[in-house]
């Protein structure tokens, strides 16, 4: 994919904190109009990468480009076209929601006051409320409303659902989905709400210990991961050239997770082994994430 077509282009980015490597040689690209879910456990390096992405931190090595602009050197130009909802609600607590809106109105070249007001109304947030007095969910809603009001070409959401209840989470995602549908905005999101993002993301990146261990289309990822259950005996998946990510005891039989599933290989395995009843079931993003980023994944 050429740079011009990419909304986000991360190239060989490394971030160190002293001797600790927080982000280790990470590269990925988010095509325009797509939704990229950047996943990882706490401390995997997502927030450091996001800070580099939005020009708040300089990578020790590598380059981050948003909309074909260097996010560090051209930060002000980039930020005029990129909406950001940070992990921690960072607006000054003494400012009212209206004042924050007025401030944004003055600093952005494109600002849709009416859209922002409409969204806040939909979230039932009073413009006269001080930001510091709002609940965690409301703060996120305010920041999302303002991030969308500047008609972003790219939206960066850093764990936007953290600490939100189910209803607030759904409301937030609905808002994002509407925006994506209306304007074709590119979205890069980090979240622990894997069920919520599963239906939304086109592409997934999974970070583990600072490294990007997965970077592929959501469908591809989901199609190559399968849980195979065998009623009796040990699983001998090697016969079908299936790569085993994890094997555990399952009743009298066993259960294995394979990371390179395909129908032909599975049939070859089933035909070659006397394993009794054998079936292969699809896995959710959360299950796949656990396999990759969890304890077992870390060992493999």
């Amino acid at each position: 994919m050429s740079g011009a077509e990419a909304a986000v282009r991360v190239q060989e980015v490394t971030v160190n904190y002293g001797r600790r490597v927080a982000v280790d040689d990470v590269s990925f690209t988010v095509p325009r109009g797509s939704v990229y879910a950047l996943l990882g456990r706490n401390g995997a390096g997502k927030s450091s990468l996001i800070r580099c992405l939005v020009g708040q931190q300089r990578a020790d090595r590598g380059q981050v480009r948003l909309l074909d602009l260097d996010s560090w050197t051209d930060r002000t130009k980039v930020m005029d076209r990129v909406g950001v909802v940070p992990e921690d609600a960072d607006a000054p607590p003494g400012m009212t929601v209206r004042q924050i809106g007025d401030f944004c109105n003055r600093v952005y070249s494109r600002w849709d006051r009416a859209t922002a007001a409409k969204r806040l109304e939909r979230f039932s947030i009073d413009g006269g409320s001080r930001f510091g007095t709002l609940s965690k969910g409301q703060k996120k809603q305010v920041l999302l409303a303002f991030a969308l009001a500047m008609s972003p070409e790219v939206l960066v959401l850093d764990d936007p659902t953290l600490g939100l209840d189910v209803v607030a989470r759904k409301s937030l995602f609905d808002e994002v989905i509407a925006e994506l549908a209306d304007r074709g905005t590119s979205l890069l999101i980090t979240t622990h709400d894997l069920a919520g993002i599963e239906a939304l993301a086109d592409r997934v990146g999974i970070m583990r210990d600072g490294k990007l261990v997965v970077d592929e289309e959501m469908e591809t990822l989901k199609s190559r991961y399968r849980r195979i259950r065998v009623a009796g005996g040990q699983v001998a998946l090697a016969a079908g050239n299936l790569a085993v990510a994890n094997v555990r005891q399952w009743g009298s039989g066993s259960e294995a997770v394979v990371s390179n599933y395909d129908e032909v290989a599975f049939e070859r395995f089933r035909a070659s082994a006397d394993t009794g009843h054998t079936d292969a079931s699809a896995m959710s993003l959360e299950e796949i994430f656990i396999e990759i980023a969890g304890e077992e994944g870390a060992k493999s």
């Binding site: 800070r51 300089r58 930060r75 930020m79 960072d90 607006a91 000054p92 400012m95 401030f103 070249s109």
Partner: protein, 634 residues
């Protein structure tokens, strides 16, 4: 610019409560007169005084508070990302916040002081030396400085990084370097250079403080430690550049050579071999270096001096006291430069409280320093105090010399100089026995005069009192150098300060309606010869150029006394045995070299080398015997 104003407006709006607090404080001055003990002052003064103090304190306190929090606290609380995730540049953020804090400080000052200014305007005029707008400007300037300093300190301490140690080391290092630079010029009394040095370091420090905020945010953004590192880098680089700039300037100022002097002033030793040349160096903030010049070779060396430098009577050394002043104390240190080839300057370990004036014995083994009514004798080799005494009846002048290494002779003249009528004058001759540490009076002489000047012959055995007693009348009275027993008296008209020559004769300048010139008297006071000189309405004997030859300076009608040039002057060489002028240099003058402290006349200048200043202030080396002349400085 729009973003700067937007952020500034946001800062002010965020702290509106400060303005309400200031409005409440503005009422306090009107209740201040209820305080016990201050009712005796006028009501307007109390209101204006209290309002001014409160307005300044609150505004400056707010500046410190704002400076310490407006960036550093947001950084520590991770709220600065609010700005960085928006299209706001780091410099807009910094200058916007700085502007907001400054405006708030100014508003607070205005809110507190304006009501009192309206109600008690007369009190403002009476209480404060400066008009209100000047006080406001000063407070605003101080507020900006405090905001910047508080921001820097807060960033350093909140980051809790090891860079803080480097900050403290650099602060001490640059502080010490700046002080050393400034102090060295302070001791020379070069206030113009000191001001420039302070200005350079201050401007670069201010630039550093002002730019460091924008730089740290631009490079460190939301990272607290990175902000600290970047701020320190910028700040110390800027201050370091200021110190280096100041050091280069100091080096350049000190590199002034003899040829850089404008209208140099010179003084020669008695033998004419050496001269002290001092003058303002071109383009160096009024810096006045002092050079010791070997008049035979023209070679010069720098002398460190902030007070008068003197040659010893026999011309074998130059000495002076270097004063070092702090706010509470002034100390003096005697410096002696032996003269001669390869002679090196010596700073002798003679340090004493206060400034003073000194004389040195002919063999350079003793120094007597007078400070205030006390006079102390030191051994120069090790600075040991040999004797000290308090002078009785300290008069209008105290001159001293060492007739031998065991005795210091002091001439005290007491009286009241009076232009209208003669008054009583007393000469007291004292001797300080250095071994016995005893001060005794050896001679006393009373006279009546309007003005009295004492000098002595080469060994101090004969004194000459030049006394003016009437509107036109003057008298030269010979006295015994130890007992003040009167000897020959020479009455005359319009005598100028005379000079006792090396052969015992006396040369005096006489000016009157009919007679203008030099009068030569024998040892017993008989008039030997009168030599008429051109333009000799005023003049002096600059020195003896060999036996029987005097170098005399006369001033004509066109001479200006305010300029240090030879305009209107002429220097002539007079053969006093033949009564003829053997050489004349028009438009030149030779310095009158004598010591305020040592009354004895100098040794004859047998080499005939003199320094002359021409009408443009240029200094020339001139030989009175041959007439050869070479440009030296200016």
């Amino acid at each position: 610019m729009t973003h700067v104003l937007t952020i500034a407006a946001r800062e002010i709006r965020d702290r509106t409560f400060v303005l309400w607090t200031a409005a409440a404080v503005a009422l306090l001055p009107f209740f201040a007169q209820a305080l016990p003990g201050i009712q005796r002052w006028p009501r307007a003064d109390i209101i204006a005084g209290t309002a001014g103090i409160l307005a300044s304190l609150v505004a400056l306190g707010l500046a410190v508070l704002m400076g310490g929090t407006f960036i550093a606290r947001d950084l520590a609380d991770r709220r600065l990302s609010f700005y960085f995730s928006r299209p706001v540049s780091a410099s807009s953020l910094w200058f916007g916040k700085l502007l907001g804090a400054t405006v708030l400080s100014g508003l607070v000052f205005a809110i507190i002081s304006i009501p009192s200014l309206i109600v008690a305007r007369s009190g403002w005029k009476g209480t404060w030396d400066q008009p209100p707008h000047m006080v406001a400007t000063l407070v605003l300037g101080l507020s900006v400085l405090l905001i910047l300093v508080a921001h820097a300190a807060s960033t350093m301490f909140r980051a809790r990084s090891m860079v803080l140690i480097a900050d403290l080391i650099l602060m001490v290092l640059f502080g010490a370097a700046s002080w050393m630079l400034i102090q060295s010029f302070l001791s020379e009394g070069a206030s113009g250079v000191v001001k420039r040095l302070i200005l350079m370091v201050a401007v670069m420090t201010l630039t550093g403080l002002l730019g460091a905020g924008a730089w740290q945010l631009s490079r460190g953004r939301t990272d607290v430690k990175r902000n600290h590192l970047e701020m320190s880098k910028f700040l110390w680089c800027s201050i370091g550049a200021g110190v280096i700039l100041a050091a280069l300037f100091a080096w350049w100022v000190r590199s002034a050579s003899l040829t850089d002097l404008e209208q140099p002033q010179a003084g020669q030793n008695g033998t004419g071999e050496f001269a002290i040349v001092r003058g303002v160096s071109r383009g160096r903030a009024g810096y006045m270096p002092t050079f010791l010049v070997d008049t035979r070779t023209g070679q010069s060396t720098r002398l460190v001096a902030n007070t008068g430098l003197h040659f010893t009577r026999n011309g074998n050394a130059v000495f002076g006291i270097t004063e070092t002043s702090t706010r509470t104390r002034t100390t003096g240190q005697l410096r002696v430069q032996r003269l001669g080839r390869d002679a090196k300057p010596e700073t002798l370990p003679v340090t004493f409280n206060g400034g003073g004036d000194a004389v040195v014995s002919d063999d350079l083994s003793r120094a007597a320093v007078q400070h205030g009514p006390s006079i102390s004798v030191y051994r120069i080799a090790d600075g040991r105090l040999l004797a000290s005494a308090r002078l009785p009846d300290l008069g209008i002048s105290a001159r001293a010399f060492f007739p031998s290494n065991d005795v210091l002779r002091i001439l005290l003249v007491k009286g009241q100089s009076n232009a209208n009528a003669p008054g009583p004058y007393t000469l007291r001759i004292l001797e300080l026995d250095i071994a016995k540490r005893r001060l005794t009076t050896t001679g006393l002489w009373h006279t009546t005069a309007r003005w009295l000047w004492m000098s002595a012959n080469a060994d101090g055995s004969t004194l000459i009192a030049h006394r003016r007693y009437g509107p036109e009348g003057t008298e030269m009275q010979m006295l015994d150098g130890r007992t003040a027993m009167p000897g020959v008296s020479i009455p005359g008209m319009h005598f100028r300060p005379p000079r006792l020559l090396s052969d015992g004769r006396l040369a005096g300048f006489v000016g009157g309606k009919n007679v203008k010139g030099l009068s030569i008297f024998s040892k017993d006071g008989a008039l030997e010869r009168q030599i008429v000189l051109p333009d000799s309405g005023w003049g002096y004997v600059a020195g003896e150029a060999g036996r029987g030859k005097l170098v005399v300076v006369t001033r004509g009608a066109g001479a200006s006394t305010g300029e240090e040039t030879g305009r209107g002057y002429q220097t002539v060489v007079v053969d006093i045995d033949r009564g003829t002028v053997i050489r004349k240099e028009s438009g030149f003058y030779a310095p009158n070299s004598w010591s305020w402290k040592d009354p004895r006349s100098e040794r004859p200048n047998t080499s005939g080398d003199y320094l002359l200043t021409d009408s443009n202030g240029v200094l020339w080396r001139w030989n009175a015997l041959t007439g050869s002349r070479q440009k030296l400085a200016g």
